[in-house]
Amino acid sequence: MIVELGHYTLVLALALAMVQSVVPVFGAKIGHLGLMRMANQTSIMMAVLISFSFGALTWAYVNSDFSVTNVWQNSHSLQPMLYKYSSVWGNHEGSLLLWVLILSLFASMVSIFGKNLPPELKANVLGVQAWILVAFLSFVLITSNPFERLDNPPLEGKDLNPILQDVGLAIHPPMLYIGYVGLSITFAFAMAALISGRLDAAWARWVRPWTLIAWIFLTAGIAMGSYWAYYELGWGGWWFWDPVENASFMPWLAATALLHSALVMEKREALKIWTVLLAIVAFSMSLLGTFLVRSGVLTSVHAFATDPERGVFILTILVLFIGGSLTLFVLRAGILKSGGLFAPISREGALVFNNLFLTSALATVLVGTLYPLMLEAVNGAKISVGPPFFNLTFGPLMMPLLLAVPFGPLLSWKRGDLLAALSHLYWAFGAALLAIILVIAFSSDAPILAALVIGLAFWLMIGAFAEISLRTDVRKNGLAKAFDRARGLPGSTWGTAFAHFGLGVTLLGIVSVSIFETEVIKAMKVGESATISGHQLTLKGINPRKASNYNEDIINFEVLSPKGEKFIMRPAKRIYTTRRMPTTESAINTSGFSQLYVSLGEVSENNLITVRMWWKPQVTLIWLGSLFMMFGGLLSLADRRLRVGAPKRAVKQAKVETDVQVPANG
């Protein structure tokens, strides 16, 4: 009965979402406070119902209830407990249920934390969120129902896809989904503004923190996905410009642009209309990403065409929401008042520059991702637009943007002074120059471009802290006072510095691994050795091992590092018993920021094992940089300035009100 109750609460949630998508918006239109306020209770109730539903499915997975088709298809009674949980979202139906759950949780957060929002705005925002919820709940229930049952359940399930049985992949989808779905809030805010025809001051205050939350999780999700692909797929690559990756990267680019334009809007009330458009674009990219990954269109356009039910449904959602919101934008944007003026060289100007380049980059990724699909749909030709395309288009677009990053925070609002800003960057410039000279001097085979990009990375890393150095000014104030000042700087200033620093760190990792990586492939027998970048690897032996749902052959390598340290590395080949599917487990040894990566290829008859070895200098910086970015985002989010109280008059009446309480502002 638990399973069926979970199914029922999901349908009930759909019913509530239908009500929610009409009543509060109607209430806002006619100015009826009660009808607006019911949105609060409804969104919380929906979150409760969907959580129960998700819990019921999880219960079925944990208890291996194979009478649920979805459980039977995607789990096995012998899986470790962690993977029983992650199996819930390791499949199409379950992952969409997770999507819907996160959406409902976000909506309930708006109603809980949005006490300082004007009731009309809040009602519209929650109404728009409910539209999305209706669309996706219907999609889940009609085409991808995780609660379908089997009359004669088998005694064993078909197991979760082995490459998904991994800690990284257990947390990657929830992260990414929080990112995707978080953008629905800014989208809802944009739509609410267009519906009511006014942009409240609260709008600007709200867009940034919510975009930040989404952005932090998107960053985490993408970085984790990239690291997972790196160690699990055994190819040693960390980014493939694969459509699935692009599907998460495009919302990230849009969210990054939105984050910056929201800043201008918050501080200067400029770029309002542009910000609204970006909010729409960012969520559209989330929807597009969901469509690409969930419709099956990527596997093959033809497979999609032969079994189009799901694909067409998501496509309809896509067209309705993107088309509808853009139409509304065209019709209503004129009503919104645009804000303050500014000179081209100014903080605003720098942020516009940022936005132009980020959106152009977004456009190139979009073209590179969709073009092959379009082509296949038109004439059936299957082409792939690989890294060369993206390196030639995306790369050059990024360079001027990255060059400009350290300037941004140093320019004043309205009218800035480029030369003055540059004068605060001489440390960064010096560091960059030094890095370039050192690279050219010590590495004979590095291309000059690589040296320049490494210089750019140092320019970014050092330049990121120029604003803090300027605002604390150790030389003028002395250490103690400068420290006080540094502590007093707003979180967003520190956040900006760390995020920009992280960008430099990631860039440094990318260049150094692309240029200085070495690779050795060798067929080896037990007792043989191979050498890569000063490391000597000796194949010591093969240990077979049996785990609950797979068997594996662990290959032991004894490694002698250039520093004379000895350690063991254990790559393995696994066979998952239920699906009879082999996987390769690579072994990675980290020293400093660099990694030694060993992965296994085929085993031939005479016990020759093909071993692929890479030395990846500074590769961890790629993900370390994203950690810095996330940390920056968190600092910015923690900024106390983002909290605002509710109006005083409302506060006085709080005694008789249920939903207007003490202001959150301390």
Binding site: M1, V3, E4, H7, Y8, V11, L12, A15, L16, M18, V19, V23, F26, G27, I30, G31, H32, L33, G34, L35, R37, M38, N40, Q41, M45, L49, A60, N63, D65, F66, S77, N116, L117, P118, P119, L121, F147, R149, L150, P153, D200, A201, A202, E269, S412, R485, G488, L489, P490, R643, V644, P647, K648, R649, A650, Q653, E657, T658, P663, N665
Partner: protein, 373 residues
Amino acid sequence: MIFWIIAVSVTVLSIGIIIFPIFGGNQISVSTLDFDKEIYKARLKEIEEERKLGSIDEQRYQYAVAEEGRRLLTLADKNNDLNSTAILKSGKSGLYGLIFIVLVVPVVALGGYSKLGSITTPDQPLQARLEADPRSQSVEVLLKRAENQLIKNPDDGRGWLVVAPVYMRLGRYQDGVLAYRTAIRILGATTELQIALGEALTVRGGGVVSEEANELFRQANKADPENIKPMFFLAIAFNQVGKYEEAVGAWNKLIAKSSKNAPWLKVARQQLEVAKTKLGIELPGNPTTQDIEDAKQLSSGERTDFINAMVEKLAGELDENPQNKPGWQRIIRSYTVLKRKADALAAINKAQRLFKDDKTFLEELEKNKQALN
């Protein structure tokens, strides 16, 4: 029934919770612009704080305060203009909302679920299924239970012995072999177990007695010379590897030791015949070893003649002794290869009449016929 009681209660409760605010509390007249003002005030406060910390200079501070002040003033103006429209009212509209909710929610929820749900299917967590009363359970469930026990306690040799024959009966020969092997590893090799493993290996190999199985049977036979089973398989193995003299001896011994109506006697006699034939008297219709040796020495033209001669010989033999299924199969194949279509069809027709009770053979013949046409 309980399900519906819960479902309806949850639905009623949900409706109650969401309609409560529509009529709860007094309606207030807060202008939405008041919310905006609050934000500007908060920002002024931040600017003050930043100045206190010295993180913005005096000039910037002045600019910022002036700008926020200007915004507040515009807002105050707007507030006066718009105050009337911003009053929040209540009234009849609330009732329409209520009716909408009370109609839509139960219809969508209960109606939608009736269409999608499977209320008659109970929860079936695996553990509970395995723990249910054994008398009402299928072999598969019992086996799964035993397997789970063995995962927890893999050194339970008796347990492996219990599941092994079940695997064999279910056709999971690989698992059967593994189970017997594990049992032997844990319990040690007894004659009985050796025979069982040997038999399992042979079944898995489609009837071929492998080297390993053969060794097992030899050991068993040594330990217990009176046991018929190892003798039987050893004899089969002799036949399979072409040691016909040993085979004849082994079969004769086995037949002598068996009681008059032992069920394996028929097979044993048949196999004995085979071995005997191989030794001296060839089975009717087969080319003799000598024939094959001869054929190897011939040129291609001679070989065709030779084959034709062989086919004629076979045809003659089939006329005399028509109850020879392999013979018919061979001759039909030969005619087909030699492109003697009419002869092939004639042979097929004859065979169809002769073996009209042998369904599979008839199907095969029909296929041959179609291939010819």
